[in-house]
Amino acid sequence: MLMPDIAMAPHTLPTQHQFNPYTENGGTILAIAGADFSVIAGDTRQSEGYNIQTRYAPKVFRLTDRAVLAVNGFAADGNMFVKKVKQRLEWYRHAHGKDMPLRAIARLIQTMLYARRFFPYYVYNILGGIEEDGTGAVYSFDPVGSYEREACRAAGAAQSLVQPFLDNQIYFKNQTAPPDSAHPTHLPLPTVLSIVIDSFTSATERHIEVGDGLEMYIVLARGRNLAGLEGITGMQELTTTQDGERVFVVRRELKKD
């Protein structure tokens, strides 16, 4: 009989509590790329288990005038990671006298994540912004640096609620276009903003870790007018340079229960 030995083993060893350096802080992030803009959004609730730690802890950060990074997972790792990315981008600025291009930031993030392959940053990253060719772009990462460019991505606690909704509304999955026409490859800005808001109100309704507030960053390509942002109230511009890409942030309330 093998059973008794195996069953006895745990009892003979002293119980060892190992310090767990990770936790999960809930929340959800999401980004959608347009033809000449990007929208990067996240809720502002930070929680641990059933405790709401705060109703306002930002998960979305402006990196440059053309790049915005959303981080979700273990908040302490997320904040440290953003801090280190910003530091590397500052060094780049000092060395090259310009902001790092979006695709280069994406590769930088993969390198920085993979550098911690054996003690990972427990963070899902979504990078949104404008490429050098003026197109809107979204890059999504796993905690150890696997990444790809996409048109849209959701991550975090309510990823399973939001991502299939985006498949349907952004990629038009399971929808057939009317005869002699095709689905648009990129949606206009007002449509994208509506989908983002709907995604978060839906996630708030059905997921306890999502809610309190919504922060949407909008990055516009160089020279693009403000078409599509007319009806948006409480919008704040965060752009630091002239004649380049422009960054805006919009804040909305979400249900607090």
Partner: protein, 208 residues
């Protein structure tokens, strides 16, 4: 490994204007391995009630037969057809009888119930595997894609949909949800119950 995910599969029901819809995927798997693409999970109970059984495949078959037996007994004893509300409670008590050794099924009930004035009122309900009933006014979901179904239904559903619009809404909800679920998919079936007819359609879905 969870028994609830052993065979996979998902069910959803939605309320419309004077109509209800219930739909399921058609997959039966052995964990990641697909076994069948025509495994029925939604069954007619009466002319105005359907039940969907998501969970362990063997219990789908057992419970279908058990419900058939109990509904037949009810019809004989009461000399009338069972109402959806009553059937939901029958489902609940059948499951609760096995409180400490449950059937691994989370059923969904959809039907049209008679009102005192002689009209028909949409009814949906779902229970957990030990019979705790959720009487929802909008939609109920069950199965391995339930979180995805919630996300889509919360985004797509609206009140007072006409039968054809309800069909489109439930179909899009189900198809897009199961496409993000490894354990559900391989085709789908939708039933829309209205006061004068039942629309049943089999949908093509992704086969990967």
């Amino acid at each position: 490994m969870s028994i609830m995910e052993y065979n996979g599969g998902s069910v959803i029901a939605m309320v419309g204007k004077d109509c209800v819809a219930i739909a399921s995927d058609l997959r039966l798997g052995n964990q990641a391995l697909g076994i069948s693409s025509n495994f029925q999970k939604v069954f007619p109970v009466t002319d105005r009630i359907y039940v969907g059984l998501a969970g362990l495949g063997t219990d789908v078959i057992t419970l279908r037969e058990r419900f058939r037996y109990r509904v037949n007994m009810y019809t004989i004893k009461e000399e009338r057809e069972i109402e959806p509300e009553t059937f939901a409670h029958l489902v609940s008590s059948t499951l609760y009888e096995h409180r400490f050794g449950p059937y691994f099924i989370e059923p969904v009930v959809a039907g049209l119930s008679k009102t005192p004035s002689g009209g028909l009122k949409p009814f949906i309900a779902a229970t957990d595997l030990i019979g705790c009933i959720n009487f929802a006014k909008d939609f109920v979901v069950s199965g391995t894609a339930s979180s995805k179904l919630f996300g889509l239904a919360e985004g797509l559903w609206e009140p007072d949909l006409e039968p054809e619009d309800l069909f489109e809404t439930i179909s899009q909800t189900l198809l897009n949800a199961v496409d993000r679920d490894a354990y559900s998919g391989w085709g789908a079936v939708v039933h829309v119950l209205t006061k004068d007819k039942i629309i049943s359609r089999t949908l093509k879905g992704r086969m990967d």
